[in-house]
């Protein structure tokens, strides 16, 4: 239910990163969201449409990678995936609440469009005479 507020922090962080690099547009935004983060991807997508409209990231591709919840099973010495939130190791049946991933709420990466005049790759050596 707080997806709108989260999306506002995404926009804030993305804008700061884009301005710092002199970008003229943000063309893609990639988030990593844990399956136990308490966030609904569909609601985030909706919030993205609302929050990003009219700004530097208007029209940006918006992707969400879901990070599966993994817990540590001490007896087996291995990680296991939590099925439907159940902290029971499928190998030995032991219970574990030692979550190693699955709560992520991250702005993973951005794709920026730089004005060509300042793009590092835009520098071309003079052609041979």
């Amino acid at each position: 239910m707080h997806e709108l507020a989260l999306m506002e922090s995404v926009a804030e962080l993305a804008l700061a990163a884009a301005q710092q690099r002199g970008a003229e547009a943000i063309t893609a935004i990639h988030l990593r969201i844990g399956s136990l983060a308490g966030v609904e991807p569909a609601a985030l997508r909706f919030a993205a449409r609302v929050v990003l409209r009219g700004g530097l990231a208007d029209g940006a591709r918006f992707t969400i990678e879901t990070v599966p919840a993994l817990a540590w099973c001490a007896p087996c010495g291995e990680l296991f995936a939590l099925e439907a939130g159940l902290g029971l190791c499928p190998r030995c049946g032991a219970a574990s609440a030692e979550l190693r991933q699955g709560r992520e709420l991250e702005l993973a990466s951005l794709e920026l469009r730089l004005p060509d005049a300042v793009a590092p790759l835009a520098y071309a050596p003079a052609e041979a005479p």
Partner: protein, 251 residues
């Protein structure tokens, strides 16, 4: 002369004298806009986590144990706090509460009537408490003459919601989640994200267990599967049952 920037460089064209493109002369345009991939890995709740850490340090310095209480609306959070306020444990505890609600300070007023110093945190439309709201609540508590250092236990009643509050660290020492006997034994399975974060689960309203046909073993089995790290204590706020056990787990 350098053909790229007219800088006076002699000899054949050479990129080595343009280190890091420091020249002020305009760069050549390729006509193709550059695309830059920027890995960031920034946490969206970093600000909250930062404030939560500051809260935690403040709580540690004051020597107060802080408990974040989560549940659905109507699971008995306020009734539990009222019962704790009226309870007289063998070792008296100095307690106060911060109470989050979307609107009204009814819960805080109820707690004050029960003898517990309480500050209402009205969140407006926010579905959870965050660390900054708690910091402001602590300021209000101290301004009202209850310094943290004089407390043994600070109870934070979160907004009634089993989803959103779980994501927000408040700087608490323990997280307590309530499951009322009438809510359904499978509630932990439906809201694993919240239950897995619990240090203590209180099964509340146990005085109603028979009336609602509460299947205790099933509820305990589900809690054991979803929240194996949590201690479970059964409480009746109305009868005062289980309160000593609960305080033993919290302090």
């Amino acid at each position: 002369m350098c053909r790229d920037c007219a800088c006076g460089h002699q000899g054949p064209p050479d990129r080595a004298h343009h280190p890091a493109l420091l020249h002020q002369a305009p760069l050549k345009r390729t006509g193709v806009a550059a695309t830059l991939q920027v890995p960031l890995g920034l946490r969206l709740l970093e600000q909250n986590d930062h404030q939560a850490q500051a809260n935690r340090q403040r709580f540690e310095a004051a020597g107060v144990t802080v408990v974040n209480i989560l549940s659905s609306p109507g699971s008995g959070k306020t009734a539990l706090l009222e019962a704790l306020a009226r309870h007289r444990p063998a070792r008296p505890l100095a307690m106060a509460a911060l109470v989050g609600d979307l609107a009204t300070d009814h819960d805080a007023a109820r707690l004050r009537a029960a003898g517990l110093e309480a500050v209402a945190i009205t969140t407006g439309q926010a579905c959870h408490l965050d660390a900054a709201m708690v910091a402001r609540g602590v300021e209000a508590l101290e301004a009202g003459g209850r310094p943290l250092a004089a407390l043994d236990l600070l109870l934070i009643e979160n907004v009634g919601n089993l989803v959103c509050p779980a994501a927000y660290d408040l700087g608490e020492h323990r997280r307590l989640v309530l499951l009322a006997v009438g809510e359904g034994e499978d509630k932990p399975l439906k809201y694993p994200a919240t239950f897995i974060s619990a240090d203590v689960v209180v099964i509340s309203k146990t005085d109603l267990a028979a009336a609602v046909g509460f299947e205790r073993e099933r509820a305990l089995a589900h809690l054991g599967a979803v929240a194996p790290g949590a201690a479970v204590v059964e409480v009746s706020a109305r009868r005062g049952a289980g309160l000593d056990d609960l305080l033993g787990l919290l302090c």
